[in-house]
């Protein structure tokens, strides 16, 4: 008999403690576990570190809320919507310290963490200044006599936050046919605690029908929560596209502190739960529009 992992958003988010290093699935405007990010902000979490491949709006909201003081990642950008302005300001003010890694270096740090190795090497970054400013990257002679490589120190995040299409109540996580995008492959395997939100909780029989689409086993997952549209306003292929209007509203708000506070109250700290959030952003009509992304 497998252990029950199904819980609520507040209880799942409570597994994250102040000061934790939190790996967040995200690629610019895609696939971020936004319901969990909003809940962390609502609960007033502080001094978090964020690990991300390319962080977008979740990083900007966490920065706006004063919830993070360090970031480990390859880039922070909302692509067509531009730089994450609150994050950028916080970095420039010295409130967030950035460990910038190339994609292979981040993959190596997490891969070493997942495999209980002290480090993994990469050939990326050689010749750049990124090695010189980072104690977690060290040039290493090839013991077999080839060219030098960069040793990337193991990274074990305290928590990984992931969003998925389907999960059963025991924490087995299923993905619909899609690109495995972006960081599902390694972040949860490196992290000590794994929290997953899913578009829908399904019976285990549904996962058994397509075990090739099960991407994380229940024994690795600590908590699972049902959160339909849980990646909103980022996209979650193939179910829904990114919310252009909301990204633009956020970009507009980032120009002044009062507008940021009003935005956060309206969408993040104001709504009492995930269902209230979905109503605040436009309810069924908005969801239907985003589900029709293929027509855009």
């Amino acid at each position: 008999m497998s252990a029950e992992k199904l819980t609520t958003l507040p209880e799942a988010a409570a597994l994250v403690r102040d000061g934790d290093t939190v790996a967040i699935q995200n690629m610019a405007t895609q696939a971020a576990p936004m319901a969990l990010v909003r809940e962390l902000i609502r609960q007033g979490r502080r001094e978090l570190g964020v690990v991300c491949l390319v962080g977008g709006i979740p990083v900007d909201w966490l920065a706006a809320a004063g919830a993070i003081n360090r970031l480990i990642g390859a880039a922070v950008s909302m692509e067509q919507f531009g730089l994450c302005q609150r994050y950028r300001k916080a970095v420039e003010a010295g409130a967030i310290r950035v460990e910038e890694l190339s994609e292979t270096a981040l993959n190596a740090r997490l891969g070493a963490g997942a495999r209980n190795l002290p480090f993994l090497p990469t050939r990326g970054l050689i010749g750049t200044d990124l090695i010189d400013v980072n104690d977690n990257l060290v040039m290493l002679d090839d013991p077999f006599g080839g060219p030098s490589v960069v040793a990337c120190k193991a990274l074990v995040p305290d928590v990984a936050l992931v969003h998925a299409h389907k999960a059963d109540r025991f924490g087995n996580i299923g993905y619909e046919p899609t690109a495995l995008w972006p960081d599902l492959g390694i972040m949860p395997k490196a992290a000590t605690t794994v929290i997953v939100t899913a578009e829908e909780i399904v019976d285990s029989e549904v996962l058994r029908a397509n075990p090739d689409r099960t991407v994380l086993p229940g024994f690795m997952v600590d908590a699972v929560v049902e959160a339909p549209f849980g990646a909103h306003p980022t996209s979650f292929f193939p179910r829904y596209g990114y919310d252009t209007a909301m990204h633009l509203e956020w970009i507009g708000a980032t120009r002044d502190d009062d507008a940021v506070a009003a935005f956060m109250e309206k969408y993040v700290t104001g709504p009492s739960d995930h269902a209230a959030y979905l109503e605040a952003v436009g309810g069924a009509e908005r969801k239907a529009a985003l589900e029709a992304w293929e027509q855009t």
Partner: protein, 272 residues
């Protein structure tokens, strides 16, 4: 297959179309190409090459969707509308790099950088002297920090040629070019390196020995003096008359406007 070979130079063309046609010419039939985010010029160039001289140019859209069939260039060059109808999804974070790090595939890479210096080093990290206390925090190196160091031929595109983007020395190297010039890149054990810089004013390449950036061709109507004025370091004086960059053909312009990018997404990169 269009009649691109017999098409005359266009009378009606714009600078974005010229840059796309010039970049397309860098990709040969049988090459593999991939793109990252906000890459409208490279995406349009790959697509144009596939419709003209390089029908077998393999395209890995957004580094995720192989041989996609988008109906036009969408607002994002990472999101699903670009990689619809792919023949294979490549897992971006892990498996993509198994292809890119292997020396045999994806041997050319297009780079956009906030700063680019005279030796072809790129910066997307920070503006200012102190990395930990930057004057401006840029998005970050993403895949460039890898692509510059793993033997790729790098093609920089810059739609806004000015002294702030083309500088004597980048504030911070987040994409390795020829480092301090001369043999430094090779001495560091790195193969490949910057090949071309295609801007809205000219095409530049790198001197085979000094590895200093130099003008290879001027776009129609642009003078060397204008390029020098818009560049933050001294360019080597040209020996003799510089060639003029080829004007895109009627057929290339038609394909870009009507087939590839009818929504003019490519224009978003210009005028920044």
């Amino acid at each position: 297959m269009s009649d691109w070979q017999s098409s005359p130079p266009a009378d009606d063309w714009t600078i974005d179309e010229l840059m796309i046609a010039r970049l397309a010419a860098c990709f040969a039939d049988g090459d593999q190409a991939c793109n990252g985010m906000a890459s409208f010029v490279p995406v349009s160039a790959f697509w144009l090459a596939r419709l003209t001289h390089a029908p077998n140019l393999v395209w890995l859209a957004g580094a995720v969707g192989l041989e996609p069939r988008p109906d036009r260039v969408p607002a994002s060059t990472l999101e699903a509308p670009l990689w619809r109808d792919s023949i294979m999804y490549v897992e971006q974070f892990g498996d993509f790099w198994n292809f890119a790090l292997n020396g045999r595939w994806l041997t050319k890479f297009c780079v956009g950088a906030a700063q680019l210096d005279r030796y072809g080093n790129g910066n997307n990290s920070v503006i200012g002297a102190d990395y930990h206390n930057p004057r401006v925090r840029l998005p970050g190196t993403a895949g460039l920090g890898d692509m510059g160091s793993i033997g790729k031929a790098l093609y920089y595109w810059n739609p806004n040629h000015n002294p702030r983007s083309l500088v004597e020395r980048v504030d911070f190297i987040s994409c390795a070019g020829y480092l301090g010039g001369g043999s430094e890149r090779g001495d560091a054990g790195l193969d490949g390196g910057p090949e071309l810089v295609i801007t809205n004013l000219c095409v530049m390449d790198f001197h085979p020995e000094t590895r200093h950036m130099q003008v290879a061709s001027l776009h129609p109507g642009v003078t060397f003096e204008q390029v020098q004025e818009a560049t933050g370091f001294e360019l080597p004086a040209p020996e003799g008359k510089l060639p003029t960059t080829a004007i895109p053909t009627d057929e290339q312009v038609r394909l870009i406007r009507d087939v590839i990018d009818p929504d003019n997404m490519r224009r978003r990169e210009f005028g920044g």
